[in-house]
């Protein structure tokens, strides 16, 4: 019902994906011959990836063929599909793929109960934007009886409110600011583009981690624990560390199901670098069907390889060096957000050109004035909380004393009501 509220017909997609995984995984465990088991797995993966390709990557594929034809002087008339991108398709496809791999590797037994398996695929808090869960973590919890405790509600609500604050106060206000600059890029100079990139970098973090917090919070209220997806990523001191703290469930998915099967860290050095690059290319293309995302993935892949080659991925002990590394890493993260924000390759080139502009300056914030200070206020609160969380465990976000919890909750609720964007912008990661 939750998924159908967006586009009723697309429930069929999730049903097909669920049924395919359920029956094919049961089939492959019933066979002892390796050949048949492998055939079952390949068939399952192919069906899932075909759906993903048709609904997410088909038009991108057509555009690429068209571009190639033009490059070589040929003529190709692209035939576009009119399908809407199903919300969360990348998330639930990767979740079901991990289940298939785990069953194939005999790490878990296939689920017998179709209803419980369907719940694993379409569990509403994390269906549309993660965290990407493993069956060994989530599915097993559905089999246990949950005894309701008021503390579950309390802890879940605090986390949910914090996520909502990040989304409504920080992300949505900064979005208006950043969009205003990016939509009028022709009139901006390098300074304002970089300012907008900074705003966008915070926006995307507050938006995505806000959603994850809300998903974890809602789930906690029902007695189900979801995986932590962010660990204050902007405090990272290298790009490698950033990917261990940003969208953790995707990073670990790619590590376990792509990087390690390709040879992991035990292969020859050039193979490790090749594998790392492939993993980051995949991470880029997972995010969006456009060359801008491929570029983003490739740039991050190259940066991680460079860090490995020079040993820069290790955390220094000297605090000054540590601080400089943090500053350098954060600056790179901001700059590499350019392809993520660009609408297409042409827009990326345009924005890149404007960064070098120094003369025309018309940073007209006009109607964005109303969102500037609330956005910065939210950013300061977010920074302080992240700082606190970085110093302790993330679970310490539920503060110990009840009076602190009470005052914090009142403060957050009033801030959301007063400063949150009432227009309720869609989550950025819904497009993935």
């Amino acid at each position: 019902m939750f998924y159908m509220s967006w586009e009723p017909a697309y429930i069929l997609l999730i049903l097909i994906s669920t049924a395919t995984d359920y029956f094919l995984c049961r089939f492959l465990t019933s066979k002892s011959e390796a050949r048949k088991r492998k055939a079952g797995l390949i068939l399952n993966i192919s069906l899932n990836l075909v759906l993903l390709f048709v609904f997410k990557y088909y038009n991108f594929f057509q555009d690429t063929l068209d571009g190639l034809a033009q490059l070589f002087g040929g003529n190709y008339a692209p035939r576009y599909s009119s399908f809407l991108l199903p919300v969360g398709i990348s998330f639930y496809t990767f979740q079901t793929l991990s289940y298939s791999f785990d069953v194939y590797r005999k790490k878990i037994l296939p689920e017998k109960h179709f209803g419980k398996f369907a719940l694993f695929v379409a569990y509403f808090p994390q269906l549309v934007a993660g965290p990407i869960e493993r069956a060994s973590d989530l599915l097993t919890q559905f089999k246990e009886r949950v005894t309701f405790k008021i503390t579950m509600l309390q802890e879940g609500a605090v986390l949910f409110l914090w996520g909502l604050f990040k989304k409504a106060v920080v992300a949505d206000n900064l979005k208006i600011l950043a969009d205003h600059v990016f939509d009028n890029a022709d009139f901006q100079n390098g300074g304002s583009i970089i300012f907008a990139l900074f705003a966008f970098t915070i926006q995307i973090y507050a938006d995505f981690s806000g959603y994850s917090d809300m998903a974890i919070g809602v789930s906690k209220m029902m007695g189900i624990d979801l995986s932590i997806n962010f660990k204050t990523p902007y405090f990272s001191r290298s790009i490698s560390e950033f990917w261990r703290r940003w969208h953790i469930t995707l990073s670990f998915w790619l590590r376990d199901y792509v990087f390690i099967p390709l040879g992991g860290s035990r292969a020859q050095k050039w193979k490790i670098y090749r594998n790392l690059f492939l993993v980051f290319l995949l991470a880029g293309i997972w995010h969006g069907a456009d060359w801008t995302f491929v570029i983003w993935g490739a740039v991050h892949g190259l940066l991680v390889i460079i860090e490995r080659v020079f040993g820069w991925h290790k955390s220094p002990t000297n605090p000054i060096w540590n601080f400089l590394k943090w500053g350098f890493t954060f600056a790179i993260i901001i700059l590499t957000m350019l392809p993520v924000r660009a609408e297409d390759f042409e827009h990326l080139l345009n924005l890149g050109g404007q960064i070098l502009q120094t003369n025309t300056h018309e940073l007209y914030l006009g109607f964005a004035e109303n969102v500037f200070t609330p956005g910065i206020f939210g950013l300061i609160i977010l920074f302080l909380v992240d700082w606190f969380v970085a110093k302790k465990s993330i679970l310490d976000i539920r503060m110990k004393h009840w009076t602190v919890q009470l005052s914090w909750s009142v403060f957050i609720i009033i801030s959301i009501i007063l400063l949150g964007d009432a227009k309720a912008e869609a989550f950025f990661y819904f497009q993935f």
Partner: protein
């Protein structure tokens, strides 16, 4: 922890939350009423302080930056806001009625043709958020905001929510004293700049993407009728105006005749001013972008309006 203690804490939380909401709501309301700066409806407050003019223009940025009251006549004013179209402006006129501040003789309501279609309704509803303060006072504001969805009345259970979006400026103004004054007659010039031509060329591309205009929004005519009723019962002449574009989106050609039909059906004066009617406006130098004239263009347009309106 005992159940009694837990219940006590939950009750305490609710009491503190309600007290914080009511207390802050009361304080923000007092700041809102005092505000005479160009934010949080300070412009409306300034207008409500004064005696109503003979002629009032209500509309969007295409009134705010394009019509110069000083050219039109001594007792002419604008009450125009950026990005505010028919829903907002009809509600604003109803607030003026409620406050007994309608113009004495003529009300000119500027409209945007795309507002005739259902496709623009979500945007029109969003624009009403700046009138949230009047939610509990004006039935039309309430009805239109409630169209957003079932959750709207719930949001207004909070006193603070009426100031959502404006709250920070209201709270910070007593400290920063940062106040952009409201212009006396409501006009705000877009002075010609070297970027005008570049901006016009860009908007001639950006504004011409397919609009995919769909079915007619019946609310548009209903609101025009309501404004007409308000005017006739207060002895005011209503003129519905549509200003020029440098180049009209081809999908809006049909909308002009639809608007003419609405005007005839409801016995309303509809004045359509295409660019070609105003001599000089064919030159790009008079335009800020495709939809707005710069200050020099506004002078030409205002002179033209004076020649056709015969305002008091």
């Amino acid at each position: 922890m005992t159940a009694k203690k837990r219940t006590y804490r939950i009750l305490l939380f609710l009491v503190i939350l309600i007290m914080a909401d009511k207390g802050l709501g009361w304080y923000l309301e007092s700041l809102y009423k005092q505000n005479r700066c160009d934010f949080s409806n300070g412009k409306l407050n300034v207008y409500l302080d004064k005696k109503p003019p003979d002629t009032l223009f209500v509309g969007s940025s295409r009134v705010l930056h394009m019509i110069k009251p000083e050219i039109l006549g001594a007792n002419t004013e604008l009450l125009a806001h950026q990005h505010k179209h028919i829903y907002h402006n009809a509600a604003l006129i109803d607030i003026l009625r409620m406050k007994k501040k309608l113009p004495k003789k003529v009300l000119v309501l500027h409209i945007e043709l795309e507002d005739l279609y259902m496709r623009t309704e979500p945007m029109l509803l969003d624009q009403l958020y700046s009138l949230k303060y009047y939610y509990h006072q004006n039935p039309l504001v309430k009805r239109l905001i409630d169209k957003q969805g079932y959750q709207e009345p719930i949001k207004f259970l909070s006193s603070v929510y009426r100031f959502n979006g404006d709250g920070w400026k209201l709270l910070s103004y007593p400290i920063t004293n940062n106040c952009k004054e409201v212009s006396k007659d409501g006009y705000e010039a877009l002075f010609p700049s070297e970027n005008d031509l570049k901006r016009l060329e860009k908007s001639l591309v950006d504004d011409f993407e397919p609009m995919q205009l769909d079915k007619i929004n019946p609310e548009f005519e209903k609101l025009i009728q309501q404004v007409q009723k308000t005017c006739s019962s207060n002895g005011i002449e209503l003129i519905v105006l549509r200003g020029p574009y440098y180049k009209l989106h081809p999908e809006l050609n049909h909308a002009t005749s639809l608007m003419q039909e609405i005007a005839v059906r409801n016995h309303i004066q509809f004045v359509n001013v295409p660019r070609v009617e105003v001599s000089g406006l064919e030159k790009k130098e008079f335009w800020y972008d495709n939809m707005h004239l710069n200050d020099n263009g506004a002078s030409l347009y205002s002179k033209h309006l004076k020649s056709i309106f015969y305002l008091p």
